[in-house]
């Protein structure tokens, strides 16, 4: 990445990536005596697909939870859109435009796909309780407007055929797609994906990869994802942060990371002699 400037860079496939949208500065997170994340810094740029990888227990999910405001680090600062983020609750972070999906799907099982995705629009709705209850004026107009937005996403992710199906009846791969739809419905500035391909077969992984690339391409959404499957990560992402035992051991383009000796050791193990 020779031509990286503060204003952005151009990826190998010719996409223009913008300036820094989020920056983690010297983050340290401890649970009692256990250090989950130790002094990690990295940035996420506007429009890029940024991956966080590492072996089991490396602290990837903790890192994502710091970004989403679920954990507050003992040390370090989170900078978002040019200013330092004060300590926040997860919902406040969501209101700032950071949406996420979960490793263990967290949808409303009894509700239809459509209703689940509609919940993602909560940030765009402001009608009061009374208005919602009598279904007049603001509430009605808002519903129409938000439904239209949701339908665009349903179309985009090709889940029209399950629009009215209760989520509980769907297979795993589709549930993951519904979760992505709900996150997208929030029109986020940054989309956090926690192991979007976990437990999928090859075909489902390919579909999901396609959707992630298309989301990034179509809506220009910045995406930060955690993933186990190295092949997928290397194909998808523009830049990769590698973690091991809570420390950052590598950061760069997939190619750079692939050649990094520390990364190879972490993944393949080193002989202790």
């Amino acid at each position: 990445m020779n031509d990286m400037t503060p204003d952005g860079y151009v990826t190998e496939d010719g996409r223009k990536i913008g300036g820094v949208i989020m920056e983690m500065r010297n983050i340290t997170l401890r649970f009692g005596g256990v250090v989950a994340i130790e002094d990690i810094s990295f940035d996420i740029r506007e429009g890029e697909i940024r991956a966080i990888i590492g072996p089991n227990g490396a602290g990837k999910s903790s890192m994502l939870n710091v970004i989403s405001g679920f954990y507050n680090p003992q040390q370090g600062e989170v900078w978002y859109k040019g200013s330092k983020r004060p300590q926040m609750k997860p919902y406040q972070v969501a209101q700032q435009g950071i949406a996420r999906t979960f490793q263990n799907i967290a949808l409303f099982e009894g509700m239809s796909v459509l209703d689940n995705v509609m919940t993602g629009r909560i940030r765009q709705m402001s009608a009061g309780l009374l208005s919602q209850a009598i279904w007049k004026g603001r509430a009605e107009a808002e519903e129409t407007e938000n439904r239209a937005a949701v339908e665009k996403i349903i179309d985009f992710l090709e889940i029209q055929h399950i629009r009215k199906t209760p989520v509980g009846r769907l297979p795993y791969g589709l549930k993951k797609r519904v979760e992505l739809a709900r996150a997208l419905a929030a029109e986020p500035s940054i989309l956090l994906l926690d192991e979007p391909m976990a437990g999928m077969n090859v075909e489902e992984k390919e579909d999901m990869s396609r959707f992630i690339l298309d989301v990034n391409d179509e809506f220009g959404t910045t995406i930060a994802l955690i993933e186990h499957d190295m092949g997928v990560v290397m194909d998808l992402s523009d830049r990769v942060v590698v973690m091991d035992y809570g420390k950052k051991i590598g950061d760069g383009t997939p190619d750079e990371v692939r050649r990094n000796q520390a990364v190879i050791d972490a993944y393949l193990g080193v002989a202790h002699d």
Binding site: I154, D155, E158, H161, E218
Partner: protein, 663 residues
């Protein structure tokens, strides 16, 4: 009263319309505000009236002229049923070009063959998937100049020198209105009955596809006479969901729709077809037997899971329906008591069931392409759905024979369509000629000569005969598939295969026996039906292959084959075609592997070559056989699967005549 009639039937002025674009002009004035197209998108049915559709098509046609489309150019159209692609075909015709719709699921090299054969300069395609395929084979296609796509998703980064967005082309067309409108009008004016309307490639069970050239005369005359035959009117509703490259869709969704002025509804996606069908409630419906089979299988599976009371109600009234339903439909006398029972059944079972199936409003329903199982056919008819059969092919602009209302049976294909003559040659092959008979095969004079003689008679390649008394045509088999067993007796594989396929558990069957002592068969199980059966019987399986090889599945299939043998034994002509041994294939026969055509007809030659080891094993007395098969994935990559298949011997029923002699 008179006005009503005007509304219900296209006026006489239509006789002056000698091309599809001319019919569009007529409809845009005569039916201006009536719905022409509907498509479900973003969860809502979006609608275009005839006047609006005409504007869309005009803008596109102007855009095509602007892009450099010349008269006589070929334009490939590749996509699923969407108004945009129907507009594309009519816009192509309007500028004097010839639309060539292709199967959207065709592999890149199949598309390349066809596009190279016709020398298409332009292609209008659906999305990135199709654009990628064309880019992949672009080097071999020297004539291909521009690609127009409808769905821009994922295509932003592509080189747009030769790539255009559908709406942009329309926009450019509107901007250049005054520049090109006179040219467009002139080109449109030149179209007549003899100009080419469309070129459709037949999939062909053998050899390379052939381009069937159909003129405006073929399409309009065939549409007109068939519409009159079934009294199709301007207020019909149809759902366009069959492949656009297939002649049937062209006739139903363009020919008849433009002739009658009825509305064509496009589903949201292939997966939502069933829901969309129900929302639209078509009055005129076509489906290949497979669709009806699948629907019936689904109904039966769901009834198995229903509560006991519901199941009883269903069984009880279905028995009534089977007994009197078809007679009521045909207007034959039925006792008052039975009528009452039937109408109760209609209230509790048939009505709701038809509604669920989306067939509640069907006035005319057709099935064709393959033989349909009598049980399946009778099931729909007993519900009160006017399902009929027709016999046709691309070269005939669909219609060769049709079943008139009230003369419907599962084993015949009806009487010659209006304006079509049918004769049977000495060796039993069916020949026809009529206004719909195709002009020629494009760049293939040899095949044209072989198929169509100087008097216009076309060989269908099917063996059949007219039944005494009713005058209905019965098709036995493909003429070239009909062979001789080693002892010189008639071998009709398709006849046996159809009998096998009537079992919901059997998806496909391929019967061998030409020039041999005994018949044997390859069988494909139906994953839905057998999977459900397995679940019910606590049979665990991890893959298609494992289920297909399960001893209990083999046992069940053996039972079906024995049933078929018994019924064959009753037919003195074909009792020697009983299946002696079979095996259940470890993979589904697939068009991607070349084993079937895109319209899902088995390619015997390819199959017996590809699975030669299995075929040998069926005859050399082996009990099982190990095999490895190459498979092609949808994206064109190849892999292989291997399996050990059991050869299952089957009991052969004694022939009736022999039995008499033995006693």
């Amino acid at each position: 009263m008179r006005e009503e009639k005007d509304l219900a039937q296209p006026s006489q002025a239509a006789d002056g319309a000698r091309s599809i674009p001319a019919l569009l002009q007529r409809n845009a004035t005569q039916f201006a505000n009536r719905h022409a197209y509907r498509e479900k998108e973003y969860g809502i049915w979006q609608t275009w009236s005839w006047a609006e559709a005409e504007k869309e098509i005009e803008a596109l046609a102007l855009g095509l002229i602007n892009l450099g489309v010349a008269e006589g150019d070929f334009i490939s159209v590749i996509g699923r049923n969407r108004p945009h692609f129907y507009w594309s075909m009519v816009a192509a015709q309007s500028v004097g070009a010839i639309p060539v719709p292709l199967y959207q699921d065709a592999a890149a090299d199949e598309m390349a063959y066809v596009m190279d054969h016709c020398g298409a300069r332009f292609a209008i395609v659906q999305d990135q998937e199709q654009v990628d395929k064309l880019i992949e084979v672009q080097e071999g296609l020297h004539q291909l100049e521009h690609i127009i796509y409808v769905d821009p998703r994922g295509l932003r980064k592509y080189d747009h020198h030769k790539l255009h967005r559908f709406t942009d082309i329309q926009e450019q067309g509107r901007a250049a209105y005054y520049e090109f409108i006179e040219d467009l009008k002139a080109r449109r004016g030149k179209l007549d009955y003899d100009s080419v309307c469309v070129m459709l490639y037949t999939s062909g069970t053998t050899g390379k596809p052939k381009g069937v050239v159909l003129s405006n005369r073929n399409i309009i005359e065939a549409s007109k006479s068939s519409a009159e035959f079934d009294n199709l009117a301007v207020d019909e509703e149809v759902l366009a969901y069959l492949p656009m490259a297939w002649v049937g869709d062209f006739i139903f969704s363009i020919g008849q729709a433009y002739w009658c002025g009825f509305c064509v509804n496009c589903p949201e996606s292939a997966e939502t077809m069933q829901t969309d069908l129900r929302e639209i409630g078509p009055t005129y419906y076509f489906a290949p037997p497979r669709v009806f089979e699948t629907q019936l299988t689904n109904v039966m599976i769901r009834m198995e899971d229903a509560s006991r009371f519901k199941k009883w109600l269903f069984d009880h009234f279905m028995a009534v329906a089977r007994r009197v339903g078809p007679d009521i439909l045909d207007g034959k006398p039925v006792s008052g008591m039975d009528r009452l029972r039937y109408s109760l059944g209609n209230l509790f079972v048939f009505g709701p069931l038809k509604d669920t199936l989306g067939l509640g409003r069907v006035r005319v329903g057709y099935t064709a392409g393959e033989a349909i199982g009598p049980e399946i056919f009778d099931f729909y008819r007993s519900l009160g759905i006017n399902l009929k059969q027709l016999y046709g092919q691309t070269e005939a602009s669909v219609f060769i024979t049709l079943q008139p209302d009230g003369e419907v049976r599962s084993d015949t294909v009806g009487v010659p369509a209006p304006g079509v003559e049918v004769r049977i040659s000495e060796d039993g092959e069916v020949f026809y000629r009529g206004a719909g008979t195709f002009e020629y095969y494009y760049k293939n004079e040899e095949s044209t000569k072989k198929t169509k003689d100087a008097q216009g008679w076309v060989a269908t390649g099917d063996a059949g005969f007219f039944e005494d008394g009713s005058g209905h045509l019965r098709i036995i088999d493909r003429a070239k598939d009909v062979g001789k067993m080693a002892d010189g007796k008639l071998f009709a594989p398709k006849y046996v295969e159809n009998k096998l396929k009537f079992f919901p558990n059997i998806l496909e069957a391929v019967v061998f026996g030409n020039g041999r002592e005994e018949c044997t068969a390859f069988i494909n199980i139906d994953l839905t039906a057998v999977g459900n059966w397995a679940e019910r019987n606590n049979i665990g399986y991890a893959s298609y292959q494992e289920l297909a090889g399960h001893p209990k599945v083999l046992e069940m299939i053996r039972g079906h084959v024995e049933d078929v043998n018994r019924s064959l034994a009753d037919d003195p002509m074909l009792s020697h075609c009983q299946v002696h041994r079979f095996l259940v294939l470890h993979k589904e026969l697939d068009a991607d592997d070349g084993e079937m055509t895109r319209t899902r007809k088995v390619r015997r030659g390819v199959i017996s070559e590809k699975f030669e080891d299995l075929l040998v094993a069926l005859y050399d007395g082996s009990e099982e056989v190990y095999t490895t098969t190459e498979v092609t994935y949808e994206d064109g990559r190849k892999g292989s699967i291997s399996a050990t298949l059991k050869i299952v011997p089957v009991e052969v029923a004694v022939e009736q005549t022999a039995k008499v002699a033995a006693e």
